[in-house]
């Protein structure tokens, strides 16, 4: 009876952009012991004062269903959509990655950045800041490769996601 298989889900939440709304969503996750792997939020419709929150979370099917039901009953929440279940979707994340290195390592970091289509958005004689956009997995891979090459700081936006095709929220 018990479904114990844990899977990762990307959930999009359309909310009224009002004071405390993010705290409500985050408080729900922490208060009920759900996991947040990534979270992004920004206003997406200024005229209706609506924001979109994208949460990547994981849990058993019963927990995921519970998370969506709990989110749906928050008063300022308009819509909850499970992008993992609703069909194919695009997930993108942006990361800024600082590499401090010299000599061959510095050159190698540039080469790898080129392969990953990462841009150097800042450079000094001893450092680069790379901007990389892609799926979280691609960014993970890039970071892993940069580690031995002088990776010194990482800033990631978290996942923004949207369904493919004509389907909308």
């Amino acid at each position: 009876m018990k479904e114990t298989e844990i899977s990762k889900h990307t959930i999009s939440i359309l909310v009224d952009n009002e004071a405390g709304v993010l705290a409500r969503v985050i408080g729900l996750f922490s208060g009920r012991g759900y996991n947040i792997e990534s979270l992004t939020v920004a206003e997406v419709d200024a005229s209706y004062h609506q924001s979109r929150i994208t949460v990547v979370t994981s849990g058993t099917p019963m927990v995921i269903e519970q998370i969506k039901a709990q989110l749906s009953r928050l008063v300022p929440v308009h819509k909850v959509s499970d992008l993992t279940l609703s069909g194919p979707s695009v997930e993108r994340e942006l990361a800024l990655i600082k590499v401090i290195a010299s000599g061959e390592k510095r050159v190698e970091s540039l080469r790898i950045a080129d392969i990953f289509k990462a841009r150097a958005v800042d450079a000094t004689n001893s450092s680069f800041v790379f901007e990389i956009i892609g799926s979280p997995e691609k960014i993970d891979a890039f970071i892993k490769l940069m580690e031995p090459l002088g990776l010194s700081e990482t800033s990631r936006t978290g996942v923004a996601a949207i369904s493919r095709g004509t389907l909308t929220m």
């Binding site: 405390g20 409500r24 408080g27 269903e65 709990q70 749906s72 300022p76």
Partner: protein, 587 residues
């Protein structure tokens, strides 16, 4: 329509009046002085001055649960708001519609650690259904009306409106309730027709069906309870109620199996365990009800009807989950059942009832009343018998007395039973009874309490006296925190750590000090006369009944055990220690 410009306090009061509010339970303070000034000047709304803000919320809960209306609370900023938190959490857990107006420091001081400032919306976010901080006078009227909509629609709950002092003074436009609609919050009330039909088919094909009903039926209203009763009788199915659902179905009816759960009846729990089709109506599979989830009703197909989507499949996966208001769904179920001329297999149902009668034969609630000491159950039974001809409302505190009241006081109608179910708040009983009595001045209102619980809001005696609220507070005094003592006896080797009430007041003198009557009783032979005497007194009474201090509350499903491993107690197998490390870590 020309806009009406009022000051903030006038807007708040006008909104309350337009929402049909007659009574507010509150306590003044610096931040809400403008509002109190307006209450004084207008004299349109009755204000009940409590002696502690927690009691204001419990009183509003009692008012709300006994009337089906919204309970309204008014407290000041800082400590006023933080004191209300327990009451708000209680109302959230038990789905009681409450509007709590809290004062706040003026907007320009918010965040400056001003005197009596607290982050009220931050603190109350997880313990309210929703909350608002009004920072813009333009939005004041809309927020007030929206709050009532949120508190009362869908699954009801408490809503806080935090009101900075400058907002209460500044000019603000007033909108009528009809001019305000909520953009997003409009819960589904009609259940899905297809699912309801499936549920009916399932019930019709059952051999061992049971209806398991909770507070949602009562929240849905008297009409929903009526339909439930009709539906149950029509189908011939056994029915059990949760602690919160008592009164939704008449307790004296033969199809009623009693309350289920940790201290529910043997027959109710065994029937839940062995049934093949379970229809859960307005009940949320709380841990007190299910016991060990791994062994909960293993052979049944389950239908759950609830207005709150998140209640479905939360603890127990169900086969059919119907989202909707219980009243609406039951009405549809009735219609379909009748239209299809369904009947449950009579032979199967008869043998199911035979099985149930077998369990009933255990008489799991029986006790012996000796000559020398009063059994707590007996007090409840006698008071039930003596109040049958009166319109009676019962409130309780939390612990053994609460369970005994639930087991032994038969509730025939909804809205007559007020108890802190989800949160289990000691100190709930007396203030809740105050609220009930305010709503029903001519009814008999009885608060069953314990010697420990009653002390938690004992200051409300002053409120009872001030407003001539003739609440009858019956203390089942065993000089222990009885339920704590019981668990210590059964699970912790009878080491009664800090559960003995070493220094109790003389409750007669205490009542007299507050200006009303106190009675005591310690002889079983005097019990009836004392109870009658109490009922005849026109004013508040505290009755201190010395009861058997070692009496345990049975039957009991120990934590972590399944329904079919109930302890039946002293009458059948004595107070056995529970040998379970697993149970020890559970609550």
């Amino acid at each position: 329509m020309a806009e009406r410009i009022l000051n903030g306090s006038e807007v708040v009061l006008q909104a309350l009046v337009d929402q049909g509010v007659e009574v507010v339970f509150g306590y003044p303070g610096g931040a809400v002085l403008p509002l109190y000034d307006e209450i004084f000047k207008q004299n349109r709304i009755r204000h009940i001055l409590v002696r502690h803000e927690q009691a204001a919320v419990h009183a509003a809960e009692g008012y709300a649960r006994s009337t089906g209306k919204v309970g309204v609370v008014l407290v000041t900023s800082g400590p006023g708001a933080t004191n209300a938190v327990t009451g708000l959490t209680d109302a959230l857990m038990d789905s009681i519609p409450i509007i709590c107006l809290t004062g706040q420091v003026p907007t320009h001081l918010i965040g400056n650690d001003a005197f009596q400032e607290a982050d009220t919306t931050g603190i109350t976010r997880p313990c309210t259904k929703h909350n608002y901080l009004v920072k813009d006078s333009e939005k004041l009227a809309r927020t007030m009306h929206e709050a009532f909509h949120v508190a009362t629609s869908g699954r009801p709950g408490p809503v806080v409106i935090d009101l900075p002092k400058d907002i209460l003074v500044a000019k603000a436009p007033y909108l009528e309730p009809s001019q305000v609609t909520h953009r997003t919050y409009n819960p589904i009330v009609k259940g899905d027709r297809g699912q309801i039909e499936q549920a009916i088919e399932l019930l019709a094909s059952a051999k061992k069906p049971i209806l398991y009903c909770g507070g949602g039926v009562i929240n849905s209203g008297s009409q929903a309870c009526k339909i439930l009763t009709e539906f149950t009788r029509m189908t011939g199915v056994p029915i059990t109620l949760t602690l919160m659902g008592l009164g939704a179905y008449p307790a004296s009816d033969k199809q009623y199996l009693g309350m289920l759960g940790m201290h529910g009846t043997y027959e109710a729990n065994m029937a839940m365990h062995d049934c093949d089709v379970m229809i859960a109506i307005g009940a949320r599979f709380d841990d007190r009800v299910t016991g060990n989830l791994d062994f909960f009703s293993p052979g049944s197909q389950k239908v759950q009807i609830d207005i709150d989507q998140s209640s479905i499949n939360k603890n127990v996966p169900v086969d059919i989950g119907i989202i909707g208001d219980v009243g609406h769904v039951l009405e549809d179920m009735m219609k379909i059942w009748k239209a299809k001329q369904h009947r449950i297999d009579a032979k199967a149902l008869d043998s199911w009832w035979d099985e149930i009668e077998g369990w009933r034969g255990k008489r799991c609630l029986s006790y012996k009343q000796p000559n020398d000491v009063i059994k707590p159950q007996h007090v409840i039974r006698r008071l039930h018998a003596l109040t049958r001809d009166r319109k009676t409302y019962i409130t309780t505190d939390v612990g053994q007395h609460q369970m005994w009241a639930a087991q032994h006081f038969g509730f025939e109608h909804p809205h007559e039973w007020m108890t802190s179910g989800g949160l289990g708040t000691m100190g709930y009983g007396m203030p809740a009874a105050m609220g009930v009595q305010v709503a029903h001045p001519d009814a008999t209102v009885i608060c069953f309490t314990g010697d420990a619980s009653v002390m938690m809001n004992i200051q409300e005696c002053a409120t009872l006296k001030q407003y001539h609220l003739p609440v009858k507070t019956v203390i089942l005094n065993n000089r222990y925190m009885g339920m704590v003592r019981q668990w210590q006896q059964l699970l912790h080797g009878s080491r009664y750590s800090e559960s003995y009430s070493e220094s109790l007041p003389d409750f007669v003198k205490l009542s007299e000090a507050f200006g009303f009557t106190g009675l005591t009783c310690n002889n079983p032979a005097d019990l009836d006369d004392t109870l009658k005497q109490m009922l005849e007194i026109d004013g508040p009474v505290i009755l201190d009944v010395a009861v058997d201090d070692k009496e345990n509350c049975y039957p009991m499903i120990p934590s972590g055990k399944p329904h079919n491993e109930m302890l039946l107690g002293a009458e059948t197998n004595g107070d056995e220690a529970i040998d379970s490390d697993e149970g020890m870590v559970l609550v």
